[in-house]
Symmetry: D4
Subunit: 170 residues, 8 copies
Amino acid sequence: MQQLSSIKIAIVLGSDSDWPTMQPCRDLLGLFGLACDVRVMSAHRTPEAVMEFSRTAHENGYKLIIAAAGMAAALPGAIAAHTILPVIGVPIASGTFGGFDALLSIAQMPPGVPVACVAVGGAKNAAVLAAQIIGTGEPDVAHKLQEYKSSLAAEVVRRDQSLQGQIAGK
Amino acid sequence: MQQLSSIKIAIVLGSDSDWPTMQPCRDLLGLFGLACDVRVMSAHRTPEAVMEFSRTAHENGYKLIIAAAGMAAALPGAIAAHTILPVIGVPIASGTFGGFDALLSIAQMPPGVPVACVAVGGAKNAAVLAAQIIGTGEPDVAHKLQEYKSSLAAEVVRRDQSLQGQIAGK
Amino acid sequence: MQQLSSIKIAIVLGSDSDWPTMQPCRDLLGLFGLACDVRVMSAHRTPEAVMEFSRTAHENGYKLIIAAAGMAAALPGAIAAHTILPVIGVPIASGTFGGFDALLSIAQMPPGVPVACVAVGGAKNAAVLAAQIIGTGEPDVAHKLQEYKSSLAAEVVRRDQSLQGQIAGK
Amino acid sequence: MQQLSSIKIAIVLGSDSDWPTMQPCRDLLGLFGLACDVRVMSAHRTPEAVMEFSRTAHENGYKLIIAAAGMAAALPGAIAAHTILPVIGVPIASGTFGGFDALLSIAQMPPGVPVACVAVGGAKNAAVLAAQIIGTGEPDVAHKLQEYKSSLAAEVVRRDQSLQGQIAGK
Amino acid sequence: MQQLSSIKIAIVLGSDSDWPTMQPCRDLLGLFGLACDVRVMSAHRTPEAVMEFSRTAHENGYKLIIAAAGMAAALPGAIAAHTILPVIGVPIASGTFGGFDALLSIAQMPPGVPVACVAVGGAKNAAVLAAQIIGTGEPDVAHKLQEYKSSLAAEVVRRDQSLQGQIAGK
Amino acid sequence: MQQLSSIKIAIVLGSDSDWPTMQPCRDLLGLFGLACDVRVMSAHRTPEAVMEFSRTAHENGYKLIIAAAGMAAALPGAIAAHTILPVIGVPIASGTFGGFDALLSIAQMPPGVPVACVAVGGAKNAAVLAAQIIGTGEPDVAHKLQEYKSSLAAEVVRRDQSLQGQIAGK
Amino acid sequence: MQQLSSIKIAIVLGSDSDWPTMQPCRDLLGLFGLACDVRVMSAHRTPEAVMEFSRTAHENGYKLIIAAAGMAAALPGAIAAHTILPVIGVPIASGTFGGFDALLSIAQMPPGVPVACVAVGGAKNAAVLAAQIIGTGEPDVAHKLQEYKSSLAAEVVRRDQSLQGQIAGK
Amino acid sequence: MQQLSSIKIAIVLGSDSDWPTMQPCRDLLGLFGLACDVRVMSAHRTPEAVMEFSRTAHENGYKLIIAAAGMAAALPGAIAAHTILPVIGVPIASGTFGGFDALLSIAQMPPGVPVACVAVGGAKNAAVLAAQIIGTGEPDVAHKLQEYKSSLAAEVVRRDQSLQGQIAGK
């Protein structure tokens, strides 16, 4: 994975309490040979840090940014406002609406400044989408994605057989 | 109204297409003797302008800020992130959800950085709330609010009688 | 904080069962040097008390009122009907809808009688918004808000470093 | 219908703009031999009038009250707070949510103070429910309800035959 | 309460699993001196029983019917289809939507056949509404309702003082 | 299609105003060689007719029933309560919620009494589903379904080419 | 049940974690004398398997397919895309929206390709609906459905009496 | 733009009726120097075409796929099931829910198979996101994105000044 050392991805959390939800994102990025920095920054509490980070993300070598936030989840959009890097937004199910507010706050971006929204709590999908984006230019990552896709399918097949066995064995 | 000349309020629109919805806000502020500046700024398209405006709003003499936005309505929160002035948020019914997304994006702010959310399209209530806030320190504005409150009541009474007359006259 | 002794804020609860949710509001007001009275009054069970309280709140020296209620959360609006003081409404997540009914009942006020709605369970934001409103006329409170804002940012930075350390240390 | 002259029903509107929606309610009450007064009163703009009306409604001879309101539709509950008369609430589809906010604001009343909520815009059902309530003690009204129920059924049968004829005739 | 012995109310449950939710309804009816029969009948599993019961409810001396059901809560409407007695519907929070489906299924009745919908799980309000309906013709029940209303208010006042004491005592 | 003459399907409408929405259902059934009766019956206004029709539908030779209704759309469930024939429910977008209430009222049936719910306004899908059900025992209908499925695909292909042509031709 | 040995039903799960929810479906099919195969296949992870299975389901002797899935529940529709067999879809309450997303994803199929949607978690109703569909051509299954329907009714009657006894016995 | 001629993007529509909504996507891609093919394919009506297209998209030189669909919008997910290319999903506001069903169907993908969801009707954002993804490897596209971002900001500034002029000129 040496050849990927120059590819950097950032995972930005609106709160460190989002880390247990997002840890599988980092683990899966690792599976694709992609390193990442994890940061806690808040669109509403440390907006300058968000701006500074986002404005310089491109020149600092980040290829894309994954941002997770709950409730009025402004973080992914606030990052997207300052960069032309792709921003993947992960709605977090904090508060009492199960992440429904965060989903709308992240998906319903105005024309010109997109965020790539994944499912509520979709840490793994943020990682896969990130790898897919990197994979458009990195054959190695694309190859790993193919393997991952195959492993997903194999796992379903394995569980299919296991369940059929379990039922037959009753 | 000379004595209020030093009180400045800002109405910030996420898009100039919000102006027809928000014009009654400005008109009603005028009724309370409150001048306002109207600005178009976008949390996602001109974030630096939003930051610059919000950071200096206090020292530039603004007493509070009214911000209107639709969809993933980040503007009110983005302003609140940079100032300790009260921020009133008005969800705008753009998009296909009737402003429901904007309502959640504005009301569901995280702990520490509030926005005072009013109803979808609630331009008049933004103005009244602004006057109420100013009125906590300005007896003249408080007095005008009392008059306005009385006029609202009188108008309901007038319409009550008018409808009763209309029905009786049938 | 001597000079603030004349500033009174009221926290009105629709039910004493809302107190655990709202206690952080009172604690945070205390941090801003703002004293408050806490009352239990019900728009539907003690409407005269609500009316009496609201009508005299101004002359009794209250600067603003924070009202918390769940379900068909009429309390903030019922108070706003009788006073020109700013009313901050806090939707409470009672019932089976996670406070969604209360959010709509509080935010969707008709033209002329606003309530400043914060997030479901947003006790802290009610306190900060109250301080921001008081702070428009009280430099001391404004100063404390700046400190609080800085402390929020510092806390995020601290957690950012702590999480990075935790991850690096693995 | 002479013997019913002492039965009075009130239709209270939060706004005179609700009259076109509610006129069928009054017409249908008339069909049941029930007279009604129509009033415009606002829980938020004329709360004293609402209180005064509600507190004296019983002694003024009203048997029940029908209240229609939109958005944060506090009117039916505000009336119910002051009377032991049955209160029927009609959510009005004003605003951008199709009356969804009003439905929740009217139906989700706290324990002890009920409102009988009907469908959004359910003017006719408010009238029928009112007649049903009166009909528990007035055989004449009960008789008219039976006739009305029969006529509803007959109308469905007529339309059933008409549509079958129309289809067959093609 | 002898004089009320001829007044009968029915509580009909769509499932006996609704009984814990609805037991407070029966208890509160008892407080108002109103006896009730409790039945389990299902609009979808015993529709003939529902029809038979509803069609004869009037002649069998019932004054009104309280019906509780969850999900596609057809029971209150199915009863209302067969009687001119007032039907009070209580949405039950079964399933995964917190009773939201039941609320819509009960409130949104078509023109001509109303159900008086109360809050999700609103067992007590069903009882109070029932008493209010009976009370339009029974001064004794009306009197008890006044006492109940006073006791609700007194309880809020007591809790208000208790909380204030608790806070002051800290 | 002679051999299908003994297969009868019923389309039951809660209101004749649903006919324009449901006419494509009948047309499409015709395409599959399936005749149908169209009836207007109301779960709430002609419940006996619904019961009578449903109870005898099997012996009267109906193979399945398609029922369309809006708002608290009880009709499909009321039919299903009285028959073991498959019942297909079509939510109609009447009222102000776009058929959302009807969708929940039809889909969320309690255990033991299913309704096969299709999309809001899904007249065509009701017809196709009906044909699929009939087709499990009628090879002719199955054959026609295959043709229909092919024609759907061919139409998409045709439109694909047409749009590509239109774009290229610009 | 010998004569039914040629009738095959498939239960397809999007994930083996849906099995506890769907096991009652299989048990109830057994009660109706209907055997079934249980498979785990994913529209998104093993789409070829889904396609292969669906395309050959008819010729492989399946009479209908029951498919259960959560969140963006594409499985029932993906199967329906490849077969003219009836497909019953069961929304599963995975994720944080209680199956609401799955309900919409399954019910709102486009014209031409229906899925018969039952309630969220409606495993039993999927089985009953399957039996109803089979029963249109199999008198034995129809007979068992009648017995099942009677047993449901008898159970409600039994619980009605049990609850009445329990209440009387207090 | 010669040097980009090898970069191909596909816009896939679930229906040609989505073209007016999606045309701005193609126009904006053109602005970024990105050519695209536009196809009409249906996850439910031409699933084989979707599969064939998706499986070969990578080898056919597509860099990413934009898929637009309404209601149970399975198309983006169906494509993502067969490719490791990034898939951008655009919910279309067909049906009566304003695209709310499509938003959930597209965003709530299960772990392992992401779709990058943008706003309902977000044709432009799909184009910008596509350019951002391509831009991670193509400096020319990145440069054009910077220009586009600047032009968005400039347009807001222009409208800000224009509105201020319009207001001042009154």
